[in-house]
C-alpha cells in the first residue's frame, strides 16, 4: 500500500506547492500570451521581450504556444484555459484566425481585451495588432539593394508564397519602393518557392540562367533566402548581391562568408514587448494604437555583432 500513500502524498505536495504559486500571483495584473509556437528561437525571443515589459510594468505574464504551428486545436485549448484564469488581457498570435473566433468573442463578452501579435486576426475584436510592418521592411531591403548595385540594373525576387500576408506584403513593399524611387532598376521576375530551400534553389538557378546580367536577388523569407544563396553558389555567380529576410544559423553564416550582403530582421523582442505594453494599457482602459509597428533592422557583416542587433537575431 505504500505506493498509494506515496502517490497521494506527492499529489498533495504538488497541490500545496501550486497553491503557493497562485497565491503569490494574485496581487499583480495578469496577462496571458498565447503564441504560435514556443520552442522555436523566434518565439523565445518574443517571450524575452514580453518578460522584459512585464518586469518594467510590474505585471505577471505567462507565455504559451503549441509544439508546432500545425496544432491549431491545442492553441484553442490554451486559449480557453487562459480565459478560465480571468486575465486582465490576452495577447494572441492566431495560427488560424477563423478557428479562434468563437473564443475571441467569448473573451470580448467577458470584457477581456485581446491584443493580436505577430500576425493579425480577421476580426475587429482585437484592440490592437503588434506586428512587423512588412511593407516598410521590404522597402528598406529595396533601398539597400539599390545602394549595393549602384542604383541601376536588373534584380529578381524569390518569395515564399502569394497567399500569406507576409508573402504579399514583402513582395509588394519591395516592388513599390523600386518603382517609386529607382527608375533605373528593373525587377525582371518574382518567383515563389514556398519557402522551401531546395525549390528556391532551383528557381534561383533558372533565374540566373535566363538573366546572365542579373545584379541582385531578394529572398523574402528565411527558406527563400537560403535557397537564393545556394543557387548563386551552385551557379558560381557570387557577384550577385543577395539580400535575405529573418535570421537563422545558415543565413547568419552566409552573411559572415560574404555570400549574402545582408538581411532584414524582424524584432521579435519588440513584438513581445509591445504586445504586453498594449495589453496593460487596454486592460486599464487607456487608448491603444490599432496598428503597432514593432520595428525591424537591416543587418550585415559589420553590425551583426552589435548588442542591439545580436539580441534580435536567432539561430
Amino acid at each position: 500500500m505504500f505506493t498509494r500513500r506515496l502517490f497521494l502524498g506527492a499529489i498533495s505536495a504538488a497541490a500545496l506547492l501550486a497553491s503557493g504559486f497562485s497565491a503569490a500571483a494574485q496581487d499583480k495584473m495578469y496577462i496571458a500570451l498565447i503564441s504560435k509556437g514556443f520552442q522555436h528561437q523566434f518565439w523565445q525571443a518574443v517571450k524575452a521581450g514580453a518578460d522584459k515589459a512585464a518586469a518594467e510594468l510590474g505585471v505577471e505574464v505567462t507565455f504559451e504556444g503549441p509544439d508546432n504551428e500545425t496544432m491549431v486545436d491545442r492553441q484553442i485549448d490554451m486559449l480557453s484555459a487562459a480565459l478560465a484564469k480571468k486575465p486582465a488581457a490576452i495577447g494572441f498570435a492566431a495560427l488560424d484566425s477563423q478557428a479562434a473566433i468563437p473564443l475571441l468573442k467569448q473573451a470580448d463578452e467577458a470584457g477581456i481585451p485581446i491584443i493580436a501579435f505577430d500576425s493579425g486576426v480577421d476580426s475587429d475584436i482585437p484592440k490592437a495588432t503588434a506586428a512587423t510592418d512588412n511593407l516598410a521592411a521590404a522597402a528598406l531591403a529595396a533601398d539597400k539593394m539599390a545602394e549595393l548595385i549602384g542604383g541601376s540594373g536588373k534584380v529578381a525576387v524569390v518569395a515564399h508564397d502569394q497567399t500569406s500576408r507576409t508573402g504579399i506584403d514583402r513582395v509588394e513593399g519591395f516592388q513599390k519602393q523600386v518603382e517609386e524611387k529607382y527608375p533605373d532598376i528593373e525587377i525582371v521576375t518574382v518567383q515563389y518557392g514556398g519557402g522551401d530551400h531546395l525549390k528556391s534553389t532551383e528557381i534561383t538557378k533558372s533565374i540566373l540562367q535566363a538573366n546572365p546580367d542579373l545584379k541582385g536577388i531578394f529572398g523574402a523569407n528565411e527558406g527563400s533566402a537560403i535557397g537564393v544563396v545556394n543557387g548563386v553558389r551552385e551557379m558560381n555567380r557570387t557577384d550577385v548581391v543577395v539580400i535575405g529576410y529573418d535570421s537563422g544559423a545558415q543565413q547568419k553564416q552566409a552573411i559572415k562568408d560574404g555570400l549574402m550582403a545582408g538581411a532584414i530582421t524582424q524584432n521579435p523582442v519588440g513584438i513581445g514587448y509591445e504586445t504586453v505594453k498594449a495589453a496593460v494599457a487596454a486592460a486599464k482602459g487607456e487608448p491603444v494604437q490599432k496598428e503597432i509597428d514593432t520595428g525591424f533592422y537591416y543587418y550585415d557583416k559589420n553590425n551583426m555583432d552589435d548588442p542591439e542587433i545580436a539580441a534580435v537575431l536567432y539561430d
Binding site: 497541490a15 497562485s22 484553442i76 480557453s80 477563423q98
Partner: protein
C-alpha cells in the same frame, strides 16, 4: 513489496488487488485527487466553463484513445490514429466543401474512409504479416502525405455547411437543460465509449479481441479465422478515428491537413494510464476514458496554475511512468 508479504493479509485491499478493478479505482482516485488539488490551488479551476473546456479538450484524444484501446487489447498497436483522424477530416472537407454534398454524406464518408484505412492496416498486419508497429508507422506517414496532397496543403473550411460546427461545438444537452451546456463533442465521446464497451463486453468481436491479445495461437488452433477478426478490429478502430476526424474538423470549422502527428502518442498514453496492458489481452474502455481525462485535467490544471510549459511536459511524462509503475506493481502482486 512481494507476493509473500501481501498474502497473509487478505483484506478488502487484497481483494481489490486481486481483481482488475484495482487499477481503474486507482486511476479514478488519482483523477479525483487531481481535481480536488487543483480546485484548492486555484479558484478559477472548478468552474462550469473550465470543466466544459476540459471535457471538450478530452473529446478528440478520448475518441482516439478508445480506438487505440481496441487495437492494443489484441496485442497490436496503431500509430496511425492521429494522421488517420486528419485524413478523415480532409475527406469530410472534400465531400462537403469541394463537392458541396449534404452533411450526412460527409459524415458517412469520413467514417467510411476511416474504416477502410483501418481495414488496410489490418490487411498489412493479418495477411501480409507485417508487424503492427511497422504497418501502422507506414500508414501514419502515407496518410499524413495523402492529407496534404488531397487538400493541396491548405486548410479546407466548412463555411458553406452551416450545421457542421454543431457536431462538436453545438449542445443538445444545453438546449434541453440551459444550465448544463455540455458540447456535443463530449456527448459523442461518451457514446463512442459506451458503444466500444458494449462491443468489447457483449459481442463475439469483443471476445475475440481479448482472445487474440491473450493467446493468438490458441485461438487459431481452435479453428477461428484469426486474420478476419483482426482485420475487423483494425477497421472498427479506423471508423472510430473517422469520428475523431469529424470532431476535430467541426471544432476548428476546418480540416487542417498538417495536423495529426504526435496525437497517436497522447492517445496511447491515455490508454496506458487507464491500465490497458501494451502486451495485450487486458484493458477497459472506462480505464482509457479516465486516462484521457487525467491527461487533460493535468494539462488544464497546470496551465491554470501558470506552471511554465517546460514543466508541464515534465509532469505529464512523470505521470505516465508513475501510472505504468503502479500497474506493474499490481501485476507482480497478482501473479
Amino acid at each position: 513489496m512481494s507476493t509473500a508479504e501481501a498474502a497473509p493479509r487478505p483484506g478488502l485491499a487484497a481483494r481489490l488487488f486481486a481483481t482488475g478493478a484495482h487499477q481503474r479505482l486507482l486511476a479514478f482516485a488519482s483523477l479525483i485527487i487531481l481535481l480536488v488539488g487543483f480546485s484548492l490551488a486555484s479558484p478559477n479551476f472548478m468552474q462550469m466553463s473550465n470543466i466544459i473546456a476540459i471535457l471538450q479538450a478530452t473529446s478528440v484524444n478520448g475518441v482516439l484513445a478508445v480506438a487505440a484501446t481496441l487495437v492494443i487489447i489484441t496485442g497490436g498497436i496503431d500509430l496511425s490514429v492521429g494522421t488517420l483522424m486528419t485524413f478523415c477530416a480532409v475527406i469530410a472537407g472534400v465531400v462537403l466543401t469541394y463537392w458541396g454534398m449534404p452533411l450526412p454524406l460527409g459524415i458517412l464518408a469520413a467514417i467510411a474512409a476511416g474504416a477502410l484505412c483501418g481495414l488496410t492496416s489490418g490487411t498489412f498486419i493479418a495477411k501480409m504479416k507485417i508487424p503492427p508497429f511497422i504497418a501502422t508507422l507506414g500508414m501514419m506517414l502515407m496518410l499524413k502525405g495523402l492529407s496534404l496532397v488531397i487538400s493541396g496543403t491548405r486548410p479546407i473550411y466548412f463555411n458553406d455547411t452551416p450545421g457542421f460546427t454543431e457536431i462538436a461545438s453545438g449542445s443538445l444537452i444545453g438546449a434541453a437543460i440551459p444550465a448544463l451546456p455540455i458540447p456535443n463533442g463530449v456527448l459523442i465521446l461518451f457514446l463512442v465509449a459506451i458503444g466500444a464497451s458494449y462491443i468489447l463486453g457483449r459481442t463475439v468481436l469483443g471476445r475475440y479481441t481479448f482472445a487474440l491479445g491473450s493467446n493468438e495461437e490458441a485461438v487459431r488452433l481452435s479453428g477461428v479465422n484469426v486474420d478476419a477478426w483482426k482485420m475487423a478490429v483494425y477497421a472498427l478502430a479506423g471508423g472510430i478515428c473517422g469520428i475523431a476526424g469529424l470532431l476535430i474538423a467541426s471544432r476548428l470549422n476546418s480540416a487542417q491537413p498538417a495536423l495529426g502527428l504526435g496525437y497517436e502518442l497522447e492517445a496511447i498514453a491515455a490508454v496506458v494510464i487507464g491500465g490497458t496492458s501494451l502486451a495485450g489481452g487486458r484493458g477497459t474502455i472506462l480505464g482509457t476514458l479516465i486516462g484521457a481525462l487525467i491527461m487533460s485535467v493535468l494539462t488544464n490544471g497546470l496551465r491554470i496554475l501558470s506552471v511554465t510549459q517546460e514543466w508541464q511536459t515534465v509532469v505529464t511524462g512523470a505521470i505516465i511512468i508513475l501510472a505504468v509503475y503502479i500497474d506493474m506493481m499490481r501485476r507482480r502482486r497478482t501473479v
